[in-house]
């Protein structure tokens, strides 16, 4: 595998998709407004919860805001890199254009996962970082080098899990043809990642940590920031994320065996 070639191709991907997106400049402005309203809506909802109780699942409002910030950053990453590409997979398969991807002298998973980039998620990432810095301030947290390293590590793992979840579901399109809505199911389940896991009842907590590992995605990085995460949890997250990455790769190669082109 020629890493240099992949970098070069990736740069070209970014260039082309950015120039497509920048054609619709009004859209970028509207997306900015959407991101701001979306975040304030979530904080509004959180404030309703906390106006009726002092803490939710053992988290105070200031601490729950950290989860919100992490969620916003990860959602921005999803909107920038994952969802534009992986919803495109559905189109490739339905229209049979995956043929053209498969015959290219480049890894097909790389192509379908990194072809598009949507700059609108950057706004969310930025907003999330701003809220996170504000959280450091109101929670009196000073991040040391080692916990910063752990934070970046766990965030990296969360991103890998997110990518794999999206990619696994999109891959099933090869059998079901139209799974655009399956990604909607994932999106709605990921929605609960905005809230502390302990605020749910026990059966749901089990569901959210085994069937769909939402807890790993937002909870562990937030706990790392608060300094209440335990060592085994971080190890577990690294383990889970590597299993997910390997599974998504294996599943893609396996699914391609069943790909029978359309309309050609």
């Amino acid at each position: 595998m020629n890493i240099k070639k992949y970098f070069k191709v990736y740069k070209l991907f970014n260039y082309t998709s950015l120039s497509i997106e920048l054609e619709y400049q009004v859209n970028i402005f509207i997306d900015l407004l959407t991101a701001i309203f979306g975040l304030s809506g979530s904080i509004f909802l959180l404030s309703i919860f906390f106006s009726n109780a002092k803490d939710i699942g053992g988290w105070s409002f200031e601490q729950a805001l950290i989860i919100q910030a992490i969620y916003t950053i990860l959602n921005g990453i999803t909107n920038t890199w994952f969802s534009p590409n992986l919803t495109e997979i559905v189109k490739y398969i339905r229209e049979g254009t995956l043929d053209f991807v498969l015959i290219k002298p480049i890894d097909s998973q790389f192509w379908v996962s990194f072809k598009r980039i949507s700059p609108t998620g950057f706004i969310e990432i930025l907003l999330g970082i701003i809220v996170l810095i504000y959280c450091f301030y109101i929670n009196d947290i000073t991040l040391k080098i080692d916990s910063l390293f752990l934070l970046l590590l766990t965030l990296g793992c969360s991103i890998s899990i997110l990518y794999s979840l999206w990619f696994l579901i999109s891959t099933t399109t090869i059998w079901f043809v139209k799974t655009w809505n399956a990604t909607e199911v994932l999106r709605s389940f990921l929605y609960v990642g905005r809230f502390p896991l302990n605020s749910f009842s026990f059966p749901l907590r089990v569901f959210f940590s085994t069937v769909i590992p939402i807890t790993f995605i937002t909870a562990i990085p937030s706990e790392v920031i608060l300094g209440i995460s335990t060592f085994w949890k971080i190890i577990l997250e690294i383990l889970v994320s590597s299993i997910f990455i390997i599974a998504s790769r294996r599943f893609w190669i396996y699914a391609l065996k069943f790909y029978s082109s359309a309309s050609s």
Binding site: Y24, V26, N27, I30, D31, L33, T34, F37, G38, G41, S42, F44, L45, S47, I48, F49, S51, N52, A53, I56, G57, F176, K178, T179, W180, N181, A182, E184, V185, R187, S188, Y191, V192, F195, S199, F200, S201, L204
Partner: protein, 263 residues
């Protein structure tokens, strides 16, 4: 101007229904993706957040189940279909047909709701298996009125989205407007928290917007929480008339600007 005959309506509905039946799995998945109200209910009851609001756990769970149902039957996606049709040039043949193109989309939505009904019912049955104490059977009258108000809610959202869809004539990509409108719909309609629980400074103005009448109002009727049915329905009708007038204006302006694409 609409040129509708019962015959046309029947044919439109029949073709769209068979079209929707082809994508049963997709619609089932879509029904599942609407389960967020149940997660919210879990947060509310598990943390005792409703104690200060004077709503019992049972009433709250009925409210959220009703909110789920109202949402299931008022989901609108016309802007996305219209945008795709506009970008691919499929609008041109629709425009020369002797029927308003939006009737086609309207029939699609109705057909999709009929297809969706059994799946929503299955989810409700699962809900009652997990929460048997909240089981209730609303009277025929309640069901009828909540059906009407849900349909009105659907109409309001359909008209709003159709207005947004008409922006396609100017900008080609109108779905980002829809994403913007969706945010207040999500947070102010009562899907995630009953409007009753909103802080005073929001409650003072939120009833002047259409949002509480989209989910909260029909859900309160269905779940038999106390609500002023007559005034609520009146407000819904006012919004429908208002958005209908705007839609007609925007459509007549926009279709003049239309330049065929893709063909």
């Amino acid at each position: 101007m609409f040129n509708l005959t019962p015959n046309k309506i029947g044919t439109l509905l029949k073709t769209q229904y068979s079209n929707m039946m082809e994508y049963r799995v997709e619609i089932a998945l879509w029904a599942i993706s609407g389960v967020i109200p149940f997660f919210m209910l879990n947060i509310w009851t598990n943390n005792g957040l409703n104690e200060s609001l004077n709503i019992s756990n049972i009433m709250l769970s009925r409210y959220f189940l009703s909110a789920f149902f109202v949402r299931q039957f008022s989901v609108v996606w016309v802007v996305f279909t219209f945008e795709e049709d506009a970008l691919l040039g499929r609008i041109s043949p629709y425009l020369i047909q002797p029927i308003h193109p939006f009737f086609r989309y309207f029939a699609q939505h109705i057909a999709e709701q009929i297809t969706r009904f059994p799946f929503a019912l299955i989810i409700a049955i699962f809900f009652f298996i997990f929460n048997p104490e909240s089981l209730w059977f609303p009277s025929i009258g309640t069901i009828f009125i909540s059906l009407i108000s849900t349909f009105f809610s659907f109409l309001i959202q359909f008209l709003i989205q159709s207005i947004i869809a008409c922006f396609c004539f100017w900008t080609e990509k109108a779905s980002s407007f829809e994403k913007l409108i969706f945010i207040p719909t999500l947070f102010l309609s009562g899907l995630l928290a009953p409007v009753e629980s909103f802080p005073e400074f929001v409650k003072s103005w939120v009833y002047f917007t259409p949002f509480p009448y989209l989910i909260d109002f029909p859900a309160r009727i269905l779940s038999e929480n106390n609500v002023n049915i007559f005034s609520g329905l009146c407000v819904q009708i006012i919004w429908i008339i208002l958005f209908f007038i705007i839609f007609i204006k925007v459509w007549s302006q926009g279709s003049k600007k239309f330049t065929a694409m893709g063909l």
